[in-house]
């Protein structure tokens, strides 16, 4: 089994392996195998289309955590220029699970803040698997308030299993750090656009996710609790994660139907990781369109709109 492919992607992996093999043979011999390769490529594409046409909520949840899925810093390279990473909450530490800094989006300066998971084991540990501690949220808050002072729009990127559930995080007030951000973001006098690029894990995601416009990548998720967590509580078995994912409606498409999403960003065939550059292009396009809408508004109108938007969540019909 190819670890870079999920269970349901294995048939594609097998086909791709065949193609690779054929190519190697082709290099060695004089036989023209181009036609055969093309045929197989076409078959692989059709197979991918077929598999991806009807994904379950649980399969999408797995895609959102795909080992090859691009992370925030992968997108930053493509979407922005001139990125200065800024570190630390000025009180305790710098949290590598939450990255922030100033950059340019088509030459215009912006503040970017987002979760960062790690790629290899060492980096995963350093970035705590994308699970911030209070100092991460406090750094985010500091950067958002800086953005407000200098009139920079805030662009946040969500990709986290959740806020870190650890002893030290509790000691330093994980709850307070999250709550404080929610309050500050509700009145921050600058546009906020949030893009969910992977896993939107609960309060740890929302703590940088109060926004004027919410964008979601097609195979990203946003949820009050992980499907496994929900299953182990309500179904008394983590095995029922698939049912829980379906019941909670955690996928971008479902949340779009429910009215939470402003822009649903389609991913290239087979998911963002198959064409990270193309995905980044689409994110950039969506961000520019969103900022275009928001930056033409008066600040007071923007804030009134944000408040009304927050009040509308679950309000009686």
């Amino acid at each position: 089994m190819n670890p870079n492919y999920l269970d349901f992607e294995q048939p594609i992996a097998e086909l791709q392996a065949k193609i690779e093999e054929l190519r190697l043979v082709g290099n060695d011999s004089k036989i023209n195998i181009n036609e055969e390769v093309n045929k197989l490529q076409e078959k692989s594409k059709k197979l991918t289309e077929q598999i991806f046409r009807d994904l379950s909520a649980w399969q999408i949840s797995q895609l959102s955590r795909h080992p090859k899925r691009p992370y925030m810093l992968d997108y930053i390279e493509h979407v922005f220029t001139d990125f200065d990473e800024l570190h630390g909450d000025r009180h305790f530490a710098d949290d590598a699970a939450l990255v922030g800094g100033i950059a340019r989006l088509d030459d215009k300066p912006v503040m970017i803040i987002g979760h960062q998971k790690g790629r290899d084991v060492k980096e995963k540990v350093r970035r705590n698997f994308g699970m911030p501690r209070p100092e991460g949220y406090r750094k985010a808050c500091r950067l958002m308030e800086m953005a407000e002072r200098f009139n920079l729009p805030v662009l946040t990127f969500i990709d986290t299993p959740g806020a870190y559930p650890g002893i030290d995080a509790e000691e330093r007030g994980q709850s307070e750090a999250i709550a404080y951000n929610l309050a500050v973001m509700s009145r921050l006098k600058t546009p906020i656009v949030t893009t969910v690029v992977g896993e939107g894990g609960s309060g740890g995601a929302l703590a940088i996710g109060v926004c004027d416009e919410l964008q979601m990548l097609q195979y990203s998720t946003y949820s009050v609790i992980s499907p496994e967590g929900c299953a182990s509580i309500l179904w008394k078995s983590a095995e029922k994660a698939s049912e829980a994912a379906q019941a909670m409606g955690i996928t971008a498409e479902r949340l779009n139907e429910l009215g939470f999403v402003d822009t649903l960003i389609d991913e290239p065939l087979g998911g963002a990781h198959r064409q990270p550059g193309e995905t980044a292009e689409r994110i950039k396009h969506a961000l520019l369109a969103s900022l275009d809408r928001l930056q033409s508004m008066e600040v007071s109108a923007l804030l009134a709109r944000r408040y009304d938007r927050l009040m509308s969540y679950g309000a009686p019909a």
């Binding site: 559930p165 650890g166 002893i167 509580i233 309500l234 429910l258 508004m297 008066e298 309000a315």
Partner: protein
């Protein structure tokens, strides 16, 4: 929220079961801490604080407010709000059936009770979580009711007091419940900007999405003794870090030591202490109200006027 749901409701369930098993009829109850057998009318006279060991047992939302507010001039807020099963959620049971069962057990529509009333003569708005209603979990009704209470406090310029007791966000309402964290926090930020005091009283237990929003945003955060308070539930933390949790971890005293709460107040002194604090923050005398006193409506009214002007002009641009 979620972490919390994992641990807390199960704790609640276990305790209820124990209680049933050990209490022969409706008149006696065993203290979960010192195990003394307590005469119920005596226990209620002490607002569910064990007369032997001072352990603070849980209190229903209605009893809590009934005892906290003056007896005169109480008025319930948004009592008619009914939960809606927007996702037609179903696990081993339908959410609808869970709601019906909780309503039957508690005689409440949902997990929050809100009232306008007086505290020792001073007008306030007070809300309390009903923990026995699905673990006091926050869904759309809890969020909406909280916001209406906060808005009333804002509009009238009178203090808001919240007694939290909750496992966190309600999973059956999925993202709708997560967003209640942002919704309630936004209404509190508005209160803060208007200079209206908000006191958050943390009672056993407060976790997850309620802890990481409205419960931690008080001008003062006050805890009852030995309440269990945190973001993630102890079991989840233990599973994550794979080490033994320190003694007294996530108890009120731990939070006081780590700077998360301003003070720990015994339930018997709550009225007096909260009243005293609010009177100082509102610049009122120790007792009574000045003859000509009315809530500080001028500033609020002025601010409203400016705000609505701004909004009108702003909306023209959008």
């Amino acid at each position: 929220m979620s972490w919390l749901d994992k641990i807390v409701p199960s704790v609640g369930r276990i305790q209820r079961k124990d209680r049933r098993a050990s209490v022969p009829d409706g008149l006696w109850r065993k203290c979960p801490k010192c195990e003394a057998i307590l005469y119920l009318p005596e226990l209620e006279k002490h607002h569910n604080v064990c007369p032997k060991c001072d352990h603070h047992l849980r209190l229903t939302a209605r009893k809590r407010l009934g005892w906290f507010l003056d007896e005169e001039e109480r008025e319930e807020i948004a009592a008619d709000l009914q939960p809606v099963d927007r996702l037609r959620f179903r696990d081993s049971k339908k959410y609808k059936d869970r709601l019906a069962a909780a309503a039957k057990e508690t005689d409440e529509n949902d997990a929050l009770v809100a009232m306008r009333g007086k505290l020792d003569g001073m007008p306030i708005v007070a809300v309390a979580f009903e923990f026995t209603f699905m673990g006091g979990s926050m869904g759309a009704v809890v969020g909406e009711k909280f916001v209406r209470a906060a808005t009333l406090a804002h509009d009238e310029g009178i203090p808001l007091v919240c007694f939290a007791a909750s496992g966190g966000a309600r999973m059956q309402e999925a993202l709708f419940s997560l967003m209640q964290m942002a919704k309630t926090s936004a209404s509190l930020e508005r209160l803060k900007q208007a200079g209206v005091p908000y006191i958050s009283v943390l009672t056993d237990p407060v976790f997850g999405g309620v802890s990481a929003s409205l419960a931690m945003l008080g001008d003062l955060n006050i805890a009852e003794p030995e309440a269990l308070i945190g973001f993630a539930g102890p079991r989840v933390i233990e599973q994550t870090v794979r080490e033994q949790l320190p003694e007294g971890f996530q108890r009120s005293e731990f939070l006081l030591e780590h700077g998360t709460v301003d003070m720990i107040v015994h339930r018997g002194e709550m009225r007096e202490r909260v009243g005293g604090v609010l009177r100082k923050l509102s610049n009122l005398p120790v007792r009574g109200l000045p003859e000509e006193w009315e809530p500080d409506l001028v500033d609020v009214a002025e601010q409203e006027a400016t705000e609505s002007d701004e909004q009108d002009s702003g909306q023209a641009h959008s």
